[in-house]
Symmetry: C2
Subunit: 321 residues, 2 copies
């Protein structure tokens, strides 16, 4: 049974969110093959990296070029742009506006601004600037599961008056259940009737795809995903699942399967993401996966019970907050 | 947000369905540790294997003892039975009724009968017998996604008049979306108002847990799961996810995490199950995973595109039906 989801568009985040796994160490061939696969599959947007400024970030030297996108470089990577639009993410406080050309001179179509709830005003100021330069824009409010209602209502008031095109519901910790997602979409629709919505999920509890479907059926338009789920920690909603499931005949799964076979299966042998117990634990506890990522990077990576005990012992749990 | 699921009971199928992965090659220590973990976690039932007859099955000699449960043996395995009840599955045409003792002389509490839609009458006859011997009973109709409405309505008429306690919705191919599950639960509730319901899902499209939650929230009572998802092909809904998510304070996830750490992580190194692309493909095509299982057993196990092409080329697809 196909659901009513023909209004949806897919934003593939494999390079951008997957880069958080491998420090953006993707070859140009990988990114080109991915772009062509997504374009052939009918995927609407490819988020090809971050457009933060290396001057404003530590450890910038070691990262691959997808962390600090440069238009001249992008032009060489994607010499023949197809229907799939290009997107970049920026973080509040990490982007130098001077780096962002007018859209008419850029390969990018969409600039997305990520922030925590207390920085929504700053994010909207950046968005105003990108909007004036001709870009499509989105506001991605992270860690919504840790935001109180009054903060959210204040943010909604600012957003309603802004020029932003799309507002994202971001389940940063992979802690939302389908019921929670449904509740948040209703809330966003009620308070932001003049905005389009997007959703970005994480797979800590194997609910990334299901939560994305819930949002899609409730009218959310932009759906983030990544091929084979590649993304930080538990990863994202899988692009291959979305293209097979949305009621939109323009999508085709075969090119995505080809990308998986040729690049993602070998890559998954070297890099780790997905449903892994420590990530399930941080998801169920509704917290950032950083403690689980540190565990996976240590000799104790499979010591799930000790990890669970540490996170749930009252004095430790309090200190973390 | 916890959902209204305090009516639910968990049936852990790790040994029974997981045995389809490793030919029931579980040590007695494994099964004892699992039983104690589930009992400590508050899980309601443990399905400890099949109770088919070796006389009625090919290849019986090589299988572990959990494929042909024997009460004398079970008594040694579980010398101190706790609150977790024991269940066994039988298949129509594979069980010798003479093997099934009265419940008062057996370690088993629940006998579940699996069948395809055309054998519902035979299954109900077995169930009548097990019911008379004192057991709780369930009818597990497999491959519901391939059943036509008129067949289902005929089966409902027989079931309504039967003594069976619980009727299962079984997503054998892992092809159901949450909307499909919701539709089927409504249909079963409408036509079987005098029966309790159960659900058994598969994870081909990463929807096993989400579909189980959908069913639970609509009033389905018995929820099948397995630890770390172990089950044939893509596996099942994960027990660890259910115990953390149901609104029932009696469940505790820690003993399940302990089982995963001690036994399931090492076992997953040797045996394969879970979200694997060929299983995703059979799930999205709504068909039995046997072709994908054969592929995974061959040198071409990661050749997803060829596999997809074979299953979707019209002349081949027709021949398979």
């Amino acid at each position: 049974m196909k659901s009513k989801t023909s209004h949806c568009k897919i934003v593939d985040c494999t390079v951008r969110d997957g880069g958080l796994v491998n420090n953006w160490d993707f070859s140009i061939e990988f990114v080109q093959y991915l772009y062509n696969s997504l374009n052939e599959a009918g995927v609407d947007y490819m988020e090809i990296g971050y457009k933060n400024s290396p001057k404003l970030l530590k450890g910038a030297d070691s990262a691959g070029p997808w962390r600090f996108l440069n238009d001249e470089f992008l032009r060489k990577v994607i010499p023949n742009k197809g229907n799939t639009k290009l997107s970049a993410l920026v973080d509040v406080g990490r982007v130098d506006e001077a780096d962002v050309l007018p859209r008419s001179e850029s390969m990018l179509d969409l600039i997305r601004v990520a922030c925590y709830i207390q920085d929504v005003d700053k994010a909207l100021e950046l968005i105003r600037m990108f909007h004036e330069r001709g870009y499509e824009t989105t506001l991605n409010i992270m860690a919504l599961s840790n935001v109180m209602e009054n903060q959210l209502l204040e943010a909604f008031a600012l957003i309603r008056e802004s020029v932003v095109d799309v507002v994202y519901i971001v389940d940063s910790y992979g802690s939302l259940k389908p019921n929670d997602m449904s509740y948040l979409v209703d809330k966003f629709k009620e308070h932001l009737p003049n905005k389009r919505l997007g959703v970005h999920t994480h797979n800590n509890m194997q609910l990334a795809f299901a939560n994305t479907l819930v949002a899609a059926e409730k009218g959310v338009e932009l759906l983030d995903a990544s091929v084979y789920g590649m993304g930080r920690a538990a990863g994202n909603c899988n692009t291959e699942l979305l293209v097979t499931s949305l009621s939109n005949t323009k999508y085709s799964v075969r090119p995505v399967l080809d990308m998986i076979e040729k690049y993602m299966i070998p890559l998954r042998e070297k890099e780790e993401w997905g449903y892994i117990i420590p990530y399930m634990i941080t998801g169920m506890l509704d917290e950032h996966p950083r403690s689980a990522m540190a565990l996976r990077d240590s000799e104790d990576k499979d010591k799930a019970v000790d990890f669970y005990d540490r996170l749930t012992t009252p004095e430790v749990a309090h200190a973390r907050k």
